[in-house]
Amino acid sequence: MTAKTQRRSHALNLLLIAVLVIWMILAAFPFLWTLWGSFKVEGDFFSKADWMNALTGPLTLKEAGGSFTGAGYHGAWIKEAFGLAAINTVIVCVFVVTISLTFGTLGGYALSRSTYRYAFWFLIIALIFRAMPPITLVSGYLPVFFTWNLWGHLPTAIVVLVAINQPFTLWMLHSFFKNIPKDLDESAMVDGCNRFQAFRHVIVPVMWPGVITTGLFSFLLAYNDFAVTAMILSKENQTMVPKISSFLGTTQTKGNVMFAVASVVSVTAPLFVMVLFFQRQIVSGLTAGAVKG
């Protein structure tokens, strides 16, 4: 039916295809280009002579003896101990996601079930907190962390990221819990459960789709953070993103830019896999706030 009523002219079709092709190139090409270039030497990826060198790689052939070289990866992961940063990132992400979700489900559930005015204001205050740029908060943390000797440690960064994550987590889970019928937990309470038992036995088993979606975004926030981790973690405890920026600052000698290129690809790869598996959840999460208010 729609095919008949929505038939398009050729010109329109062409325009549509053009928009899509251009957008696809804009969205995907930079990643493919960098992935390809990360296996070349710097002279090819940043070629003064001819940009085609990045594709054909004559210098890579000369310097490394093959069309591709893993020198950038070797340098980043082995010489510069990028693996340590990766482990730190894993630790930070696992803890931030678990703690944020635990706090967030409790709070989000309460906010979705309370009918009082203060629940509304709670959410509005959370929205204002969500708008604060993290770096403005960091300047508030530093003097306190220095005097109490909390600066530089992974747990500190984890706690801070959990807190910064809370406003967003609360909003998202609140809108997910709103979609779970009230009758469910209320009937459990009629049967003699208290509020927490009703939550534990009735709501927890059905909340996982919403929790997984929210978890993905908490993960992204922790994984992608630069402002907090760069300022709060000491050099030994750095996570991957500040580590990359430190490659740029100190090691601008020949070849070392390729360490940064290789680590950029390494950081992007897990995100790529994540989108591959959780595309549907991510899309539903992005629209949850908008469509359901």
Binding site: V19, A27, P30, F31, S47, D50, A131, I135, Q166, P167
Partner: protein
């Protein structure tokens, strides 16, 4: 839900937000009206083989003691806000006095660090946000018109620029725009100038940062609009068609009104996120040509000398900016809520 139960449920997250969001804001406020304790200077008589001389030196012990007694430093009122690195009242007054015209006044103003950061932050926020909405809408309409089987892959690749770490995404773009990178080479070819360098030019740097911003955020608007398009009322669309509405009229009178509430949502999120623009400036090493408020704070906090009061003052000004930006939304929510 009973008040007491509610309290227990929200306790962990409120505690986290109270300790690590609310208190830091208070702490930033307090810091911004204090400055470091002055170093205690003492005169030391230094006698050598060529006679005695009095030199001044820092009395480390006394300075330490003073610092211990006043961990916040000494109270300075609003002086940090008015100094050269922030609102720079004296410099602005001087510029006002000796400027030859409005253009000259603004160019003098933009040499002051705070106004430089402010101007880029505002320009970025108010140029990128509408562009994100427009491009997001165009892509959403295009994807919605595509065959069902290509939509999945289209969405997959569209999500990448948004989800990838901002620092990393901007680095990827930066390397391509480099004079020795592929886009840089293409620009040199198009402009016919083999020495063209985006990094060396202020307007081009601004454009590049904004292009990155749109590239990074357009997928967000796209996804929200795309979901909105799925829920357009088919009957309304069909009756419009039967009444003879052209394709453009259908978009104008059915689809756009349907998507309007989503636009408010996207605009709100984008204003908040674009106002904190920070990572691309680090990745592009663009500080010579463009700085932002967040970058100014980062710059004060980093390095050997951590200028905490200066960073705190900029933070307070940034928070004020955010509040002004959010004010219309808050006022509207307040009205809606009272209406109910």
């Amino acid at each position: 839900m009973k008040h007491k139960t509610f309290l227990w449920f929200v306790l962990p997250s409120s505690l986290a937000m109270l300790l690590f969001i609310f208190f830091p804001i208070v702490s930033v406020l307090i810091q911004s009206v204090h400055v470091d304790t002055e170093q205690v200077i003492k005169e030391v008589k230094n006698c050598g083989p060529f006679g005695c001389e009095t030199i001044t030196a820092v009395d480390q012990e006394a300075t330490q003691a003073l610092k211990r007694d006043n961990p916040l430093g000494r109270f300075a009122g609003l002086s940090t806000y008015f100094d050269r690195r922030h609102l720079a009242l004296d410099e602005v007054r001087a510029a006002w006095g000796n400027a030859s015209g409005a253009g000259d006044f603004f160019s003098q103003l933009l040499n002051l660090p705070f106004y430089k950061a402010m101007s880029f932050t505002l320009a970025y926020t108010f140029i990128v946000t509408p562009l994100v909405i427009i491009f997001g809408f165009i892509i959403a309409v295009a994807v919605n018109g595509a065959a069902k089987w290509v939509r999945g892959p289209l969405i997959f690749f569209s999500l990448l620029p948004m989800l990838v770490t901002p620092l990393v995404g901007s680095l990827i773009i930066f390397w391509m725009v480099d004079a020795r990178g592929v886009i840089g080479a293409a620009l040199q070819y198009v402009a016919g100038d083999p020495n063209l360098s985006v990094k060396a030019s202020t307007p081009l740097t601004w454009v590049m940062l904004m292009v990155y911003g749109v590239w990074h955020s357009a997928p967000f608007a796209f996804i929200v609009y795309y979901a909105g398009l799925q829920s357009v009322n088919k009957d309304t669309l069909e009756s419009a068609m039967i009444d003879g509405a052209s394709r453009w009229e259908q978009i104008r009178y059915v689809i756009i009104p349907h998507l309007l509430p989503l636009t408010t949502f996207i605009a709100l999120m984008q204003l908040m996120d674009n106002f904190r623009v920070f990572e691309p400036i680090v990745s592009f090493s663009a500080e010579a040509h463009a700085t932002s408020l967040s970058w100014a704070i980062y710059n004060d906090l980093g390095g050997e000398t951590r200028q905490l009061s200066s960073a705190a003052a900029t933070s307070v000004l940034t928070i004020l900016g955010i509040c002004i930006l959010l004010l219309p939304v808050l006022v509207r929510t307040w009205r809606d809520f009272n209406h109910k």
